[in-house]
């Protein structure tokens, strides 16, 4: 169970907070990220290859905004305090909607809305708490680049099967 009562957590639903500032897409970070996801494609590593493939410059992989949670981009005290136990948190879902590719050199701002927070009884895992967080990333021209929506689940016990996802149905 989260360290704070559900009713108190739910008062944050609908609130939007700035969760990323000066999130610059750096070439070296893109290259390391591409290697870490086993997709070290030329377009992620080499500017000429990226241009030859029709990109403005080196693009970032579709899930690259996961790196916006590095401390250097996160404003102090602005995020949502859900009180989830890190040992019990699993990632249920993640969705992206893109306006355009993200490029090396872009500097983004992230604004996150807690869109939903609810609990369900797990099959035999105790109470599961779900939090849905939607982050809109905008560029220096204040134009939206992408929206990332994630569902985090605090499980009632260690899970080794697929109950997090199946019990996430609602």
């Amino acid at each position: 169970m989260p360290t704070r009562p559900l009713a108190e957590l739910r008062t944050q639903v609908g609130e939007t907070r700035r969760t990323a500032t000066d999130f610059t897409v750096e070439r070296g970070k893109v290259a390391e990220f591409a290697r870490a996801i086993n997709d070290p494609a030329d377009v992620y590593l080499d500017e000429d290859a990226a241009r030859a493939a029709g990109y403005e410059t080196i693009p970032a992989p579709p899930t690259f905004t996961r790196t916006a949670e590095f401390p250097r981009y996160v404003p102090d005290g602005e995020g949502f305090e859900l009180g989830f136990d890190p040992a019990r948190v699993v990632h249920g879902e993640q969705a992206y909607e893109y306006e355009r590719p993200l490029y090396v050199g872009d500097t983004l701002t992230g604004d996150t809305t807690l869109t939903d927070l609810y609990q369900r009884d797990g099959r035999d895992g105790g109470t599961m708490t779900f939090a849905v967080l939607e982050t809109v990333f905008t560029d220096e021209a204040d134009e939206p680049v992408l929206t990332a929506t994630g569902t985090s689940i605090e499980t009632g016990r260690a899970i080794s099967e697929s109950d997090a996802a199946t019990e996430g149905e609602r």
Partner: protein, 133 residues
């Protein structure tokens, strides 16, 4: 993206076996330093059999095939659902299957499913893509 897709067409890519180093590398590259992905004593104390992969590691692996098939310009939606954990030693096969093609006057929209299965043919991630050009 090519315009030559047909409904039912599939693309696949397999990586692995993956190991703890893959989870550590993803932790370092992504900033997800939750110990459940690399700290064996921590996770066994918490009741898990071993460390397991970040869901976003799997979503990232699958994005490689998505990029290859559609290109990043065309990608308008990428949705993923983590339905089972990825363990050290797993081999991951990503499949993209063309589900629907809607040809409009100016652009064509393609919907595809994205699935990642392990060596036991168990789904670890399901998802979908929309690509428009």
């Amino acid at each position: 993206m090519s315009t030559a897709y047909t409904v039912g067409e599939t693309f696949t890519e397999t990586i692995g076996p993956i190991d703890r180093a893959d989870f550590v590398r993803y932790a370092g590259a992504s900033g997800d330093f939750n110990r459940i992905h690399y700290d064996e004593p921590f996770v066994t104390d918490a009741g898990y059999d071993s460390v397991f992969g970040q869901g976003m590691f799997t979503a990232g692996v699958a994005s490689g095939l998505v990029r290859e098939v559609f290109g990043l310009h065309a990608l308008t939606e990428y949705r993923t659902r983590f339905v089972a954990q990825v363990w050290p030693g797993d081999t991951l096969t990503t499949t993209v299957e063309i589900e629907a093609i809607e040809a409009g006057a100016e652009e064509t929209s393609v919907e595809a499913s994205v699935t990642v299965r392990n060596q036991d043919d168990e789904s670890v991630m399901t998802g979908s893509v929309v690509a428009v050009r």
